[in-house]
Point group: C2
Chain length 413, copies 2
Amino acid sequence: MAGILNGLRVVEGSAFVAVPLAGMTLAQMGADVIRFDRLEGGLDAGRWPLAPSGKSLFWAGLNKGKRSIAVNMNHPEGRDLITRTITAPGEEAGVFLTNLRVRGWMDYETLRRHREDLIMVTLLGDRHGRPQVDYTVNPALGIPDITGPEGHEGPVANALPAWDLIAGHMCVSSVLAAERHRLRKGSGQEVTLTLKDIAAATIGHLGMIGDAVLNKEQRTKSGNALYGAYGQDFLCADGRRIMVIGLTRRQWAGLVEVTGTGQEMELLARRTGRNLTDEGVRWQLRKEITEILAPWFAARPVNVIAQTFDEAKLTWSEFRTVKEAVACDPDLGPDNPIFTELAQEGLGRFPVPGHVADFSGLDREKPRAAPSLGANTEEILSEVTGLDDTEIARLFDKGIVGGGRSARLYTAA
Amino acid sequence: MAGILNGLRVVEGSAFVAVPLAGMTLAQMGADVIRFDRLEGGLDAGRWPLAPSGKSLFWAGLNKGKRSIAVNMNHPEGRDLITRTITAPGEEAGVFLTNLRVRGWMDYETLRRHREDLIMVTLLGDRHGRPQVDYTVNPALGIPDITGPEGHEGPVANALPAWDLIAGHMCVSSVLAAERHRLRKGSGQEVTLTLKDIAAATIGHLGMIGDAVLNKEQRTKSGNALYGAYGQDFLCADGRRIMVIGLTRRQWAGLVEVTGTGQEMELLARRTGRNLTDEGVRWQLRKEITEILAPWFAARPVNVIAQTFDEAKLTWSEFRTVKEAVACDPDLGPDNPIFTELAQEGLGRFPVPGHVADFSGLDREKPRAAPSLGANTEEILSEVTGLDDTEIARLFDKGIVGGGRSARLYTAA
C-alpha cells in the first residue's frame, strides 16, 4: 500500500455519511483504516441505495479501502478487544475516529489509560449532546427556505447531504492536524466537532449571518439563478436546459458578445440608470437580463450553443439526470484516472472513484472495494491486537467476534 | 497566536469560495495564512452578500484571520515579490494554495526553482482545464434533477455552494497530508484537485453511480423526504413546519409511540404485506406513513410537539428562515463558544464563527476579522520577504505594492 498517508493507522467506529466518509478518505490517501462494527453490522449496513441483490451500495461506497472487524461489544471481552485495537502501539497508530457516543469504556478518558497519546476525533450532533442529522440541521438554519423555484411556497431541502459531507472532510483535517501536533509535541488529545456547529459556522463564513443581522431585505428563493451576480438556466430549442455563468467581468462580456445582445443590454443599462459591469446590479436586474437572453437560447439546440460557448471559453453546463451523466460524461468513467471499473461481489460492475487529489510525488492509488462485514477480523486480531491463533479461535467459537474465517468459508462455498 | 497548526505558513492566491475557505480554515486552526491580491482586489472583492455600507460580507467571512498583501503582478518586480513570499525560507513555510491558473511565473515548476521542497495545492475547474463553478458542476451531475418538490418540472439547484465548500475542505486536508509527507521524507510536491472530480467522486461514494448503472428504477424528486428510510416534513397546528426523522429503528419506534399510531402502522404493514422495521420499506411506503402521521402534527402547535419529542429523545427540527435562526437559535450566537460578537469597521456588529473543532489540548481560538485589502503589505514585505524599509518605501512609491501604509493613512483620515 502506498499513498500520501502511508503508515498512519486510524480505527473507526461509525455509521452513516460523515465519519465513514472521513475514514474512507483517509484510507484512499493510504492510511490503514480499521472500521469496527457489532456482529450484525452497523446502523448503516443496509442504507440505500441498494444493488439489485439488496446489498447496500451506500456501504460499498463509504467504506472503500478499509479493513473490517466485527465484534460483540455487549460482551466485556469484545469491548476489551476494541479497546486494544484502538490503543495498539505504533508511532503512527493510536488515532480513533467516531460518531458513536458510548459512555464509559469508549470515552476518551477511559481509552487514554491504555495509550496516553491517543488522538480521538468525535463528531456529535450538536453541542447539547442531541443527535442531529443533515436533514434536521439544514431546516434549522434556513437553507431550504432560500432553495427552490421563485414563488414556491414552503421549504425545499437539497438532495445532497452537504453538511454530512463537509463534516466528514473536517474530521479528516482534524485527524491530520492533531496528528501533526502529536508528532511535534508528543501529546495526543480529544477533538470534538458537531454537525450543527459545522453548518452554523459555514453559513457565517459565507456572510449569511452578517446579512441576516445587518440587512433589512433578506435573500429569498431565486430558482436556479447564481446568487449575487449573473448566472441562469435557459431552455434550449431541443428542450434541453443549460446553466450559463456571467459571474466575472470576462464571463459577462463574453456572454453578451456571443449572444449579440450588446445593444439591448446597453438600453437596459440606460433605462435603469444602472451599470451592468457591477455584479450586484446584474443580480438585481437578473430578470430583465434573462428576458433579453432567453430568445437566443430558445432558438438554438444545445450542440450549437455548446460549440459557440466553448469557442468563446465561456463557463456553462447542461442539466442532466444522474443516469444521463453516468452514461454520457467521460469524467464519470474510466476515461478519468480517478475512476476504475470494479466488479464487486454481490453488487456488479460499475466505475468506482479513488481519491481525487493527485499528489505528484506519488503514484495515483487505485480504489479498493469495501470489505464485507468482518472480512478482516482474523488478521486484525492477529496483527494489530496481537492475539495468537488459539485465542482467536476461541473468540470465534464463543461468538465474541464474527466475519473473518466464517466469511471466507462462506465466500468459498 | 496559538492554534493546532501554529507555526505553519501558507501563501494563498485565490478567489471565490473554495480556496479562500481553505485558507481561512487553516488560519482559524492557527496557521499564518498570507493571501495575496492584485492592487484593485481579487475577483471576489465585492462578492455578495454586502453590508449596508456596500462592503462585502463574503470577503469578510472567507478571509478571517489571514494577512493580506496587495501587489501589482503585471509588473515584473511585483511577480518577483510574490515568488519570494511563496518560497520564503522556514521549515514550516513553503506551502502555496491556489485556484488561479497562471502559466509561467506561477507554475509549480518555475516556483520550485526558488524552493525545492515547495508544496503547491491547486484547485482547478475540471481535468480538461476548463473553469467550472459550483453552479455548473451541480447540474452536470444530476443533483438538481433529484432536488425539489415531487412532481415539479425542471431542475432545482441548491442555495448552498456545497461542492465549493467540500472542495475547500479537501484542499485543507491536501495541504496537511502533503506537509506530513514533506516532514517525513523531505520532499515537496504539486497537488492538483478539480471541482468536478470532487463532485463526481462524491456521488460515487454515496452509491449514486452504482445505482445509476445497476438499477432500472431511478431516484426522482421526493420533496423533503429523507432518502432511503423515513423522515418527513409536517405542517403543525400553528402553521409552522417541522422535520421528523425515523431513520434508525429507535427513532422509528419512538415516532410511532409518541404519535400513538402503532395500530394504524400495524394495519398498513398487514395490508401491504411489508415489514416497516425495514428502512427501505419505510421509504417505499413513505406516503402512506405520512398520511397516518399528518393529522397528529396538524392538531398540535410546535411547542407542544417539541416537548413530547424532546422527552422521547427523538430527532427533529423546525424549518426556519436564516433570519429567524440567527434571531432565535442560541447555537448561532455568543452563547455558543464557537461564535464571538465582533464589531467590524465598515460592516457592523454580528456573531462571527471561529474554527468548529475543539482541540482539548489547546485553548479555543477566538475568530479574528478579515484584513482589509493589503492591510499587511508592509509587515509581510519586511518579515517574510525580507526587504528593508528603503526598498519597501520605493515599492509603495512606484505603485508596485498597495495597502499597508496607505490603508493605515486612509483609516486615520
